[in-house]
């Protein structure tokens, strides 16, 4: 997990091949999507080079925002950062032209109205001073007054060039803070040595921030990044001595992204809303299966604390004006229970401007959320632990940002913070009051229609299902699924491991344990079916049918039925009988058998219903799931 290679973006195993196949005819959109993958500095340079070859020096069609013309004015080598800056703008669909001054000569460039800088006509200027240049002549023996003066001089020098740039170009200005790269002279109490370069770096950075606020200049906080990533990542003295490169080339992808996110924020192009999944995103476990006592949240477990920390982070974002919303595959009533009654929940129902918990696909739900809150899809950041949902949304709604949440909830907040989605350059009174505004219209109804191109997505998943009878290897997991699945569970019959063994041994009982793999990996065992001869001859009775909600909406049910009918036919049955026993939690599958083409075939006193499917005329449903060899 390293910020330098943009770890919040998804990995793309085929990246190099896709870049190689771009040629010179690929459209801008292909470049944008490749720029939205994790990449190191070599890959960044390569993508930039290809884009320059394809589009020359002019914004290609398909760029939505006016082109950025950035002048990066530096005191040492900065040209190695330029490809990554351009690619970072590409990531945001923005075309960027970048200029930099001849080595070290930024002042001459600024002062001379006939210079290449003036001819370039930047619409944003970035000052990037190396630490030695910014500090000037060092002298550790300086007294406090002399050190104060040196700090003020350094800040003055910045303010002076800001004025010059503003007069010449009347455009936004960014000032990079100084990298804290000087080694200590005293140690822990370095601040007591006024002339210490290390102590002065810190003071100059503080002073630059205040002056920048006064002058309306935005800060690129390299010092803060060095604290997060370590100065050894940002600065390699070997390269400084060799080529006056202060910022280590491997950090250029991150550096570029920092620049681009500030410029995007200056243009009002930041994300505004964090859309959160619930199960395994805001708490550990599945509320519909594990129940309010079973979910992992809060005191008592390290993982539970990690989810609390993430909720706290979302809460802080909300307080500073980021809109929160929920998009979860759940029964709404069940999804709401932790918000109403779990003592450790930080977020409340009223924290969210939109709360969508249903079984529709998430792309359709995100569209509905954007419409409900009345913001664009390009203002949404979607946080979900499930790679299936993330990839569905990336594919269906490329405008939505989808951070690649790590597996450990302890790093969810860092992932979203590092992604810089909510970069803002100023706070307004409205930002602070926004969270309150949305509490007022918290309770709203949603009209949703699924318009996504789901079949194409399912096809692309390359799903493969493996169905085997119960066996000793699967026994423990089968028993676990039987006893914890609450939502997609037609009869909610609980069995012990002994019962499972008995079913395994009984030749007349049909047992399925079902695994699903797709191109993103192995989902493990995701469904269990048990069927027995009915008391009526010629009928096979489905005693148990359950499935993990993680694979809902992927045609696993249809593929399972196809196989079950095959098996029933092989055994000489004429019909398959389904049974539904309602519980508090399985409303999701009330219409399961009706949807699969069964006819209702009576009810019983306990509220259960029975469903009949004749085998003779059964036509298998076409799915995008390949059935694996057993």
């Amino acid at each position: 997990m390293s910020a330098s290679d943009l770890w919040w973006l998804p990995k793309n195993a085929d990246w190099s091949d896709e870049v190689r196949s771009l040629g010179t005819t690929a459209g801008w959109g292909r470049f944008v999507s490749l720029a939205n993958c994790r990449m190191d500095f070599l890959q960044t340079e390569r993508l930039d080079k290809l884009a320059r070859k394809s589009f020359g020096d002019h914004p290609p069609s398909g760029t939505t925002s006016p082109a950025v013309r950035l002048a990066i004015l530096g005191s040492s080598m900065v040209s190695h950062l330029i490809p990554a800056i351009r690619v970072a703008f590409m990531r945001r669909g923005i075309w960027a032209e970048i200029y930099t001054n001849p080595f070290g000569q930024y002042l001459q460039d600024l002062m001379d109205a006939g210079s290449a800088l003036h001819a370039f006509k930047p619409n944003v200027v970035l000052f990037a001073f190396d630490a030695r240049h910014a500090l000037g002549r060092a002298n550790a023996a300086r007294d406090a007054a002399a050190a104060d003066r040196a700090v003020e001089d350094a800040a003055d020098q910045c303010a002076h060039v800001w004025d010059m740039a503003r007069q010449a170009f009347a455009c936004p200005i960014i000032q990079q803070t100084i990298l804290p790269l000087f080694p200590a002279l005293l140690g822990n109490n370095e601040h007591r040595l006024p002339g210490s370069p290390q102590a002065m770096t810190q003071r100059i950075n503080q002073r630059i921030r205040r002056r920048a606020d006064e002058a309306g200049v935005d800060i690129l906080a390299l010092d803060a990044r060095a604290t997060e990533d370590g100065i050894a990542s940002w600065h390699n003295p070997v390269l400084w001595h060799r080529a006056k490169i202060e910022i280590a080339p491997p950090m250029s992808p991150l550096y570029g992204d920092l620049v681009a996110r500030i410029v995007a924020a200056q243009r009002g192009r930041s994300y505004k809303c964090l859309v959160l999944d619930l199960d395994n995103t805001l708490w550990g476990g599945v509320i519909g299966d594990d129940g309010i006592e079973g979910i992992v949240l809060g005191q008592g477990s390290a993982e539970g604390e990690a989810f609390i920390a993430f909720q706290n982070y979302a809460q802080r974002l909300s307080e500073r004006g980021i809109i929160l919303a929920v998009c979860s595959k759940n029964d709404e009533k069940i999804a709401l229970t932790p918000f109403a009654s779990h003592p450790d929940m930080v977020l409340k129902r009223s924290s969210f401007a939109a709360f969508v918990a249903n079984w529709t696909d998430k792309a359709a739900n995100l569209r509905a959320i954007a419409a409900e809150i009345n913001i664009g899809l390009d203002a949404l950041v979607f946080a979900d632990d499930n790679p299936f949902e993330r990839n569905l949304v990336r594919r269906e709604l490329p405008a939505v940002a989808v951070p690649e949440l790590p597996e450990d909830a302890a790093f969810y907040a860092q992932c979203i913070a590092d992604g810089g989605y909510f970069e803002s350059v100023r706070m307004t009174a409205e930002d602070f009051s926004r969270a309150g505004q949305y509490q007022a219209n918290a309770e709203r109804e949603f009209a949703r229609q699924a318009t996504s191109d789901l079949p194409a997505y399912l096809k692309s998943l390359e799903m493969e299902m493996r169905v085997t009878p119960f066996d000793v290897l699967g026994q423990a997991r089968i028993t676990q699924l039987i006893n914890k699945t609450n939502q997609f569970n037609l009869t909610t019959r609980r069995y012990t491991e002994r019962d499972v063994e008995a079913a395994m041994a009984d030749k007349d009982t049909v047992t399925f344990q079902i695994r699903l793999t797709d191109k993103y990996g192995d989902n493990g065992m995701i469904a269990v079916v048990i069927a027995k001869p009915s008391s009526r001859p010629g009928e096979l009775m489905i005693d148990t049918w359950l499935m993990s909600c993680r694979v809902l909406g992927r045609q696993v049910e249809q593929a399972t039925l196809n196989l079950l009918v095959d098996e029933a036919r092989r055994r000489g049955y004429r019909a398959v009988i389904g049974e539904f026993r309602p519980t508090e939690k399985n409303g999701l599958v009330r219409d399961h058998y009706a949807k699969l083409g069964f006819e209702e075939d009576g009810t019983d006193d306990a509220g259960g219903s029975f469903w009949r499917l004749p085998i003779e005329n059964y036509v298998p449903t076409q799915t995008h799931i390949k059935i694996g060899e057993i």
Partner: protein, 81 residues
């Protein structure tokens, strides 16, 4: 790690850095043999080589890297093989 493996690794780095999959290297290859391999690109290739092999070149060592054979010998030494 054999010299051949080291050479393969360097070749991959150079191909990526110069965006040219047709490049082949010999121990006597020097930067001047390849279009685009200027002093600036040289830094890129040195840093990428460090990352590729999980090593760090010393300041003085970088000065001595002229021919590809120098790279190979130095990497072999650093990998202790």
């Amino acid at each position: 790690m054999t010299d051949l493996e080291i050479m393969d690794g360097i070749t991959e780095v150079v191909r990526e850095a110069l965006d040219d999959d047709t490049i082949t290297l010999t121990p006597s290859s020097v930067a001047g043999d390849f279009a685009g391999w200027d002093s600036f690109k040289h830094i890129t290739i040195v840093v990428a080589t460090e990352m590729r092999f999980g090593i760090k070149f010393r300041t003085a060592e970088i000065e001595s890297l002229k021919e590809i054979g120098d790279f190979v010998a130095l990497i072999r030494k650093k990998k202790g093989a």
